[in-house]
Amino acid sequence: MISVQGVSKQFGDYVALDDVSLEIRDGSLTALLGPSGSGKSTLLRIIGGLETPDSGRIVIHGDDATNVPPQKREIGFVFQHYAAFKHMTVRDNVAFGLTIRRQPKEKVAERVDELLKIVGLAGYQKRYPSQLSGGQRQRMALARALAVEPRVLLLDEPFGALDAKVRTELREWLRRLHDEVHVTTLLVTHDQEEAMSIADDIAVMDNARIEQVGHPRELYDNPSNPFVMGFLGEVSQLAGRLVRPHDIAIAAESVAGAHEAMVSRVIHLGFEVRVELMLTSGEAVSAQITRTEADELEIGSGDIVWLRAAGNSTLEAI
């Protein structure tokens, strides 16, 4: 388990982390999710020993690692821009951690081949990083980090520099890899979809603090505040309450507790139908229903309908 205890960090006047505490379960894949400048990368770098906290402690597997240099933390670090050793072949890149430990050559070669197979780069041993695509470079960087059998894998926006399609492929691949290798992994991302789709746990960060920690589903359904709710998905406001657009039930008849509204626009997006409405108070509301529901309601612009929040994930609007 990685335990972050009351960590603070300032760069000059800028507060990057403000008394942050977090526990990361062994063998889990945890995402640190937040907008840029929220302090998530700083936290990751502190856990990796690349920055020193002003106060607080980092405990890795029961050992206080706060003042342990990165060389001795047994962590693997993967950077957004790959940090490839450009003058070395793929083989030498992956072997780096092993060769500086003076492991026997055959053993190193065997391990490198095995790792390159795991990350899908078998046969690329003699290439140079400049001859690989971005996705391949990042997989090489992962193999390089895994080669030394780290206790913790730290990934700093690992797919941030890749195009959308490769990003989606690689994150699914990372999830499968994690299920095989089971190394405790902490991933920094600003992409909520990325975090939701691969993480076991998500810690949402904003303004140098952790706002909420939990399973993706739990965070989505029970956000503790409007920021978390808004960062994890779309939010509509219905009569003073924040609610997910798909949690707004639309009825053709008046029901108890429902708000009267007029349909201003119906947008068909295939399976999903987006309904723009106007409450009698003049407030605009956006709801999301399925195509079947839309067909049953025979909904169209100018109709008068009744809205109520159906799900349980509602918050008081500030």
Binding site: L50, Q71, F79, F85
Partner: protein, 284 residues
Amino acid sequence: MSTVVQARPEGGARRRGRRSRSYGGGVGPLGIGVATLWLSIIVLLPLAAVLAKSLEGGPAGLWDAINAPSARAALILTVAISAVVALINVVVGTLIAWVLVRDEFPGKGFVNALIDLPFALPTIVASIVLLSLYGPNSPIDLDLYATKPAVAIALLFVTLPFVVRSVQPVLMEVDREAEQAAASLGAGNLTIFRRIVLPALVPALLGGAGLAFARAIGEFGSVVLIGGGIPRETEVASQYIAKQIEIDRPESAAAVSVALLVIAFLVLFVLRLAAARTQRHERG
């Protein structure tokens, strides 16, 4: 200052080369014509003239002139001291560049500006400056006048900026994250420098060392006062050449000049080749 400006692009040379290859926005025949004409008038024709002069006595005469005892001694001394000077520059120049790029200290801007001073100074002034500190009236009681160390110090003084100025920009662009990745893989500072940083610096180091060496073998002004010019002792090739002109032996002067030219050309060529080899995979 012009040679300092020349020293700078060493690090960026590869990028420049690649750029012209990828979208060859050439300057056309006129540009090429002007460049060729200029190079001919300024460089090639004078070189051809001195080569012709040196060959007045035939190849054998050229060889004899170079092989004359004091000529040979001056050439060997010049090359040996220049090589040592270039090597010292590689080590100290890298250290200075490192300090200037990676460390923050008060007066950094001043130190940075100071690096170019030996270059901006007329070399004869450099010689006087050094003579006043390391000459017969040395305030620190260190009289190096007319010794080999004095020649080396004079050459170190004028060649200081070359390695510093070629390594500095490359060091600024070195991927810090690659160093951090190496650290997280267990590499200590020395290993990181040797295995990660140094390979990136090699082309700039070779370039800077080459320029320092080429400058050193041709240096005259800074050596002339403090070196003493004792034949077969501290007389460098350029002093020998000047002396041959004075005693009206222009063929002999031309012969040693050609020898210097060939050495400078060979060294620059070999270092450039080596630099090109090391940076083959440094792209992207």
